[in-house]
Amino acid sequence: MPSNKPSDKKSTLKPATLDATPALSDAEVLQTFKDPNTIQAYRDLYDALGRAYWEASDIKDKDTIQGIRDHIYEILTDLNIEKLQANTELFFALKSKIEDNNDALGDIKKKIAKITKNLSTVASVISAISKVLSLAPSLL
């Protein structure tokens, strides 16, 4: 009696349709869309559909065109979000370098404050001497 259960060999095979067009992983899809030519092709398509939208006179045609356009808009928006996220990492790396330089400027500020403090010390020493003199003139 033939079994309804597919043979082990068959069960390991993917459906024919998928074999013909292997599924791409998310990373592969993203990589495909990172190709500048692909991105430009989608931008051009978006613009071309935009012109078609305004040329169409029938509201149903307009809706159909805009529906496709909306999908392309979403794809291109996602790609831009990815780009900006990638830049965020670069900004983050740059932040510490700028902070290091600002720290170096902070050190210079401290050195300048020390110069001012030294002059203040001179003033306070003179003040202290004159105070001693005025309080105990008999010492001299």
Partner: protein, 321 residues
Amino acid sequence: MFLNLDKSSAHEFPCTMRHRQSLPALLGVSLFLLAGCSLSPLARNTASFSSAASLVVDNTQNAYRTAVRLNEEAQASLLVARFDSAQPMDPHSIRPLIDDKGLKTRTEVLNGLQAYAQTIADLSNGVSSPKLDEAAAACGANLKSLGDALATSTSIGINVSATEANAASTAFKALGDFLVNRQVRSSVPKVIHEMAPHIEALANLLSSDITTLRDQSGRDYEQLLAQQDSFIRHAGSSLSATERRAEIERLPRILARKQATDDMLGELQTSVRKLAETHHALAVSATSKDSLSLQARIADLRASAEGLATFYQSLSASSDK
């Protein structure tokens, strides 16, 4: 400190008296000239750079806010358009163009740039001078007190007049300025030079961001335009004649905003590039005396940044929604 000769003996030393009166002022003027002249170009250039950099930073932060808000508007418009369709949009699927972390990081970097520009300007211009002035004034006043104390408690006969005390204060101030300026001149140009590649990297990153924002904002406006058009057509007679007229009138306003935003982002990209070039020129001029080309660059940058600031105000005022 100057010796105060007795009146009885003063006539015997007329030359000494004249010399004594002019010496404090001369000393003060000489030290001021020594301290001030050679620093002036660095101080002037860093102050101008700081002022222009501050405008670019403000404009860039405004650009991020504008672009993120615009994208939210476009996404909301898409949500409305798909609300009654077979595949309505899940509001949870809406992602911000730049997330909180991205905005925070960019803000921190821009604040770091602003702090850097402000600090080199402060250092070069001697912002710490109030403390220095205070210390110098105290020196003169305390010298006078010391002279008075010596005069009353000893027979030395030393007295410091108010004029001489002021001259001493001035000399101390000039000495302090000189020391501070020497510190600034020996340290600040080095920091500016070391910062140059980071400013270049920052300008490239900002430019990359702005290119993306220009690309995105153009489509965001196109989406708003098409959704608005679709809304009017689908609404049909449910809108009164007046309402319909008002909604249709929004269409050209959206297009005007699109053009204005693109112009603004284009200008900002130019400003960012000029900022990097100006900083490079500043780094070069910090170690040389030729600052003519730098002055021209700074003036150019400032004019560009001021134009943008005005533009942002007008853009906010004419915001369609």
